[in-house]
């Protein structure tokens, strides 16, 4: 039985030439392999700093691409998410097949983990059945050698019939070897020994499928969910339509394929053959034979990572290590970036001073200082914190530590209906919601990412603390600490309840707890830094514009005058005030402060100070004086970065007692508490909204605005109504 039906020896160049718009020397390489096999390291070594990251369309799954000039070709490298199998078992794996079908001209570079050769070769066999030009790259040979396993690439190459390259530790050399091998890439001509019944059924399905793999996948029928099945079958049908050039080959629709497959499955079930298990076993058995033939085994030694895990995952030491690790991650994310946010504040002040020194028309000067400098400053202020977070995340992910966090936190987090990995975004949200939303990308399932990200804005971030402190000190001085702690707890409770609610409403499938604990590894610094920079840049590109726009809009609201003489801001606030009267917040100046608070929540204080106490005039600044201030600021930031490694530099800003006194005149204690609760829960700040929009789309961003505002309104109303 000639199966799978792969044309032997189709040269790469033919596949490349079929590319629609590509120039003859333009090549795409799709990197496929199991998670933690070192795809990112390879792409980093080959492409250097030309790394770009973005989400696969319609998903939150990140796909990295890079362009490089290799051996006379302009090569686009596509780093696909790690996958154990082409038939997806997670959101990330679903993307791999879709991406491969979307790049029909691409060369598939399959990275194989030498420490788990048989398991990884099962994926290689699936790729072979996809009928695409293939190069196999053996990675982690040193680690395999440490465990007494040595692998012969030549034997594997002879058995597979495709080039097999051993990637040396120095990855640049590996890249050179890969380029040499890419010329010889072929579609493998393997005949997997499937039982007669399976092979015959798959052969009958083959004309309607894009490849042997698709025929077998349709036959095994155990595709994860109905939606995923539809996607995979649709992708198969599209590809079949693309490749069905010969008029004799009928263009079978996805539904026809699914219907045919169901009939074949029923037949096999009746014959007592389980297609899914039989196909999976046949593949694994073949992969196991290939691996055994190419492997020489010395003494069996245990993975050194397991010795480390005896301590790190110990039932008593583990939780302590987890708490210490999370605290350290939190501390570093915010302490390392804080001095630089301060420095950007100094830069902003100097620019404002310089603008004041120029003889510009007042409105233009106000626009430049209040809208442009302020807006760009708001965007840039996120660069240090996000870059630091991405460096830490990149390290934790690539070093194999994040999987251990999931292991240790899973029991506790599952008690509140969340997967273990959600602990990191939840902890980071106490500092700032924006990096926390970005950190949800470490979760495995799209659904979990969405519901955790939608729950995060309820957790009190650092920007809300000044509002709490000022109001608590002014209204309940004796119980200020209790009230502030209570607000933090309330935020967590609302977030957890929201996450549980979204789980039921969105009906997200439960993410699996079955995860590999990869060997500990020290990721290359250049990889971590480049990835962090690419991710920061990607955030700025998509979120920078909307944040800037929002700041300009708020500025216009504050600055523009109505013909009647009152400002647009006052008119808007007065119009909104009656709606807030049930919360005890009927004063327009208090309601008004909440509007610019949507840009950043700490602005609530500044805005109230402006309307209650009046603004301060900006001192014009000379060029030299400004440069002096900048220099001092830079030195301070550098010094604080170093000192922040062992402690937070600086304290909280002095609370403006005068503002508290004035607020006492317009608010009751109950209303002040309602204001605090409202500030805690209402509209996420613009940057959070931009982050939500980038990850999940405009629809979910609008949903978050509506949801948070509703929750905030009714919570604040309850507090005001229940306060004696």
């Amino acid at each position: 039985m000639p199966f799978p039906r792969c044309e032997p020896g189709a040269p790469t160049s033919r596949a490349i030439e079929t590319g629609v718009a590509a120039a003859p020397t333009d090549v795409t390489w799709c990197l496929v392999g199991t998670p933690n096999v070192g795809k990112s390291s390879l792409i980093n070594a080959v492409a250097g700093s030309h790394l770009q990251v973005g989400n696969w369309s319609g998903t939150t799954v990140e796909v990295a691409t890079a362009a490089a000039r290799l051996g006379g070709h302009q090569v686009t490298l596509v780093d696909l998410p790690g996958a154990y199998s082409l038939a997806g078992t997670s959101s990330e794996e679903d993307v791999v097949l879709l991406a491969l079908m979307a790049h029909p001209e691409a060369l598939v570079v399959n990275l194989v983990d030498a420490t788990h050769l048989a398991r990884d070769l099962t994926l290689t066999l699936e790729l072979a059945e996809l009928g695409r030009p293939l190069v196999v790259a053996l990675n982690l040979l040193e680690q395999a050698a440490e465990r007494g396993v040595s692998i012969d690439p030549a034997a594997l190459e002879a058995a597979l019939g495709v080039p097999v390259v051993a990637l040396p530790d120095h990855r640049r050399h590996g890249a050179v070897a890969l380029i040499a091998a890419a010329g010889g890439a072929r579609t493998p001509s393997l005949a997997l020994p499937y039982p007669e019944a399976i092979a015959a059924a798959a052969d009958r399905l083959r004309p309607g499928s894009a490849s042997s793999w698709h025929a077998l996948a349709a036959l095994s029928g155990e595709l994860p969910t109905a939606a995923a099945e539809r996607r995979i079958v649709a992708a198969a049908a599209t590809a079949a339509a693309l490749t069905a050039a010969s008029p004799t080959e009928p263009r079978v629709s996805a539904l026809t394929l699914a219907a045919h497959a169901a009939t074949e499955r029923a037949g096999l079930d009746a014959a007592g053959v389980d297609p899914f298990l039989t196909i999976a076993e046949a593949r694994f058995r073949f992969a196991h034979e290939l691996a055994s033939a190419a492997t020489r085994r010395g003494g069996r030694r245990v993975d050194p990572s397991e010795r480390v895990d005896r301590w790190l995952l110990h039932p008593l030491v583990g939780p302590v290590a987890l708490i210490a690790g999370l605290a350290l991650t939190f501390h570093l994310t915010f302490a390392l970036s804080d001095p630089w946010i301060g420095f950007f504040g100094v830069v902003q002040g100097v620019l404002t001073g310089w603008i004041a020194a120029l003889a510009l028309p007042p409105l233009l000067a106000a626009f430049l200082a209040g809208a442009l400098v302020e807006g760009v400053g708001t965007v840039v202020a996120f660069v240090p914190v996000l870059f630091t977070l991405y460096v830490l995340l990149g390290f934790l992910e690539n070093a194999g530590i994040l999987a251990r966090v999931a292991y240790l936190a899973d029991g506790l987090m599952r008690a509140i209906g969340l997967p273990g990995r959600a602990v990191l975004p939840m902890v980071l949200a106490v500092g700032c919601t924006v990096p926390a939303v970005q950190a949800t990308r470490t979760l495995e399932e799209n659904g979990d990412r969405l519901r955790v990200a939608l729950a995060l804005p309820s957790i009190a971030c650092g920007a809300r603390l000044p509002v709490f402190v000022l109001l608590a000190a002014a209204f309940v001085p004796a119980y200020a600490a209790v009230v502030v702690t209570g607000l933090y707890l309330l935020g967590f409770v609302v977030a957890i309840v929201s996450a549980l609610l979204f789980k039921h409403v969105l009906r997200t499938p439960e993410s699996s707890g079955a995860m590999e604990l990869p060997s500990y590894r020290w990721p290359p610094a250049s990889l971590v830094l480049r990835l962090a920079w690419a991710r920061t840049r990607s955030f700025l590109q998509s979120a920078g514009g909307p944040i800037l726009l929002a700041v300009v809009a708020v500025w216009a609201l504050l600055e523009l005058q109505l013909p009647s003489g009152t400002s647009l801001f006052e008119a808007t606030a007065r119009a909104l005030a009656p709606a807030f009267a049930p919360l005890g917040l009927g004063d327009w100046r208090v309601v008004g402060a909440l509007i610019p608070g949507a840009v950043a929540k700490e602005v609530v204080i500044g805005s109230m100070a402006l309307t209650f106490l009046g603004g301060e005039a900006v001192e014009p600044l000379g060029v030299l004086a400004g440069l002096g201030v900048l220099g001092t600021g830079l030195l301070d930031a550098a010094r604080d970065t170093l000192t922040s490694l062992w402690g937070f530099g600086g304290g909280m800003d002095a609370v403006d007692g005068l503002l508290g006194e004035r607020l006492g005149g317009v608010l009751t204690t109950g209303a002040a508490l309602a204001l605090m609760v409202f500030t805690l829960l209402y509209v996420p700040c613009v940057a959070t909204l931009a982050a939500l929009r980038k990850a999940f789309g405009t629809r979910w961003m609008l949903f978050s605005i509506a949801y948070q505002t509703t929750v905030a309104y009714f919570s604040a109303w309850a507090v005001f109504a229940l306060w004696p």
Binding site: Y84, S85, A87, T89, S90, T115, H116, A118, R119, T122, G221, E222, P224, T225, R265, A266, D269, D274, F276, L277, A280, E281, F284, R285, H288, E289, D303, S305, E306, D309, L313, H314, P315, L316, G318, P319, A403, A406, Y407, L408, D410, G411, L412, R414, A415, G420, P509, S512, G513, A514, M515, E516, L517, P518, S519
Partner: protein
């Protein structure tokens, strides 16, 4: 349609497998304590989970050892073949294992429905 429990009938490594001791028992993986070891007999549960376990290397006939259990009814830390992995206790319920030494098993023994599994042929 397909049965919800899949069973391994043979193994690529069947020639190296020691004969099953006469006292061996079949039980869910979740009953194995730290240090327990056994051999996977069959997988049950959602197809997506089965597929994932198979792909990770936790397939019928694979030998596995429980290296640890996280506190607070947390996941199990396992070694299956060469793969080091974690698995939630509730998911471990869906993995039936053959254990040679039933002394260290946790919890009350439960009756495995007749015909729900088949012993691998030795």
């Amino acid at each position: 349609m397909k049965a919800d429990r899949i069973t391994g009938d043979s193994s690529p490594a069947s020639d190296t497998r020691p004969a099953c001791a006469p006292c061996c028992v079949i039980c869910p993986l979740s009953r194995l304590g730290r240090g327990g070891c056994g051999r996977v007999v069959s997988l049950a549960g959602a197809p997506r989970l089965q597929r994932r376990l198979m792909a990770l290397g936790l397939r019928p006939t694979a030998e596995l050892a429980v290296l640890g259990r996280a506190p607070g009814n947390g996941p199990l830390e396992l070694r299956a073949g060469t793969v080091h992995l974690m698995l939630r206790a509730c998911e471990a319920n869906d993995v039936l294992v053959q254990v040679d030494d039933p002394a260290g098993l946790l919890g009350a023994p439960e009756r495995i429905p007749e015909g729900a599994y088949a012993l691998p042929t030795v």
